[in-house]
Symmetry: C2
Subunit: 221 residues, 2 copies
């Protein structure tokens, strides 16, 4: 697979530290949060925009008995305070906050900001689609991940990049085993690949890159 061309490979913090952006930074207010602290609750009344200066921030949906992570924001990432998600510091974190009206003025002059938002939103959307696929195909997800975890125990070959599974089965044959259509199993395998959990080596061989995450899926839904 060729590396995908990305629109949005810009380090916003580096951009901001250049002298022409110094005037923008004046418009931001610094706020500090300790590890695990909630930055913003869903539907926070404050309509602001923030930029992660240092640390790591998790954006997630929480229900009575489960949570779905939509994205992990890193230094340079821009996000909004007014969404339906919880926003939490994963480590000690500093953010720079400004109101949406000021941000609008900045953004019109500076494509770096809006390109970063495209990146952040694209990532959130990607994870949302994975979550929707997971919820729609919940039972098949569970049967397929169980099948893979079992196969790792039975015939997994530890290699440098993870665990190699010489299944000797095509996607259609796996589909028959877990009781789904080939198309559905393809969608799920593609999701697992996008989440960095596995890689297809060839038509009948899979490389499990993150066994822990694969096992977690079983308890995730």
């Amino acid at each position: 697979m060729p590396t995908r061309m990305r629109l949005t490979d810009i380090d916003l913090l580096e951009t901001l530290s250049s002298s022409e952006y110094a005037k923008f930074l004046k418009e931001f207010q610094e706020r500090r949060f300790i590890k695990n602290e909630i930055l913003y609750l869903p539907n926070n009344e404050e309509n602001s925009v923030f930029l992660v200066k240092c640390g790591k921030v998790r954006v997630y949906l929480a229900y009575e008995d489960k949570e779905f992570t939509l994205s992990i924001l890193e230094p340079g990432d821009v996000y909004s305070t007014h969404t339906r998600a919880f926003i939490q510091a994963m480590e000690d974190t500093i953010i720079l906050v400004t109101d949406v009206r000021t941000f609008q003025k900045i953004v019109v002059d500076s494509p770096a900001f809006s390109l970063n938002m495209v990146k952040v939103l694209g990532d959130l959307l990607k994870n949302s689609i994975t979550i929707i696929n997971g919820l729609v195909f919940k039972d098949i997800y569970l049967r397929l991940t169980e099948f893979l975890v079992q196969a790792v125990e039975d015939k997994g070959i530890p290699v440098q990049q993870g665990i190699k599974l010489e299944l000797g089965l095509t996607t259609g044959e796996i589909a028959q085993i877990v009781g789904a259509t080939r198309q559905t199993v393809s969608v799920i395998l593609n999701d697992l690949r996008k989440s960095g959990i596995l890689e297809k080596v060839n038509r009948r061989t899979i490389l499990i890159k993150d066994l822990k995450k694969l096992q977690e899926i079983n308890s995730g839904f």
Copy 2:
């Protein structure tokens, strides 16, 4: 409720018709589709960016037995050909297409494009979260929408903007009737509000703005 401040109220087609953008338009190729035609299938290999010139385009996820609409793109909206969604013409449609490398060059010079993408992605994300809420709370969604449809039949008062429901019940009391927590009913009512289906008039009165859509939800999941 005050009208929300939006970052991204820019008409890209109008911007593009100005003379300084004429050089950008040269980089785009025109493609025409008739009503109901599929523009791009999921995971299309072509990594391009397109701009809706006229018509209407639906972005949706399709499973064996259901579909979820993520967004309706309108003239001026920018989107990618390489996603996990189906992209379909809702009416006769013309799009302008360019490869992602060319688009990257254009975007760095022109915040109008990236702001439009922020708008489009924000909209897709908003609908994705509504879909996730719907899937997580499937049973409660059904019970709550059934409760509202029944209430419309029993005591709906037609008014200019829709149907007024003087329920005389708080969210907590509705939650008890449909067998859910107050918080969950709040989340769902908020989703229905964001989808333009209803509006809360006061603590005990709801205005149903789109009864048809409310009824459709019952068959949607």
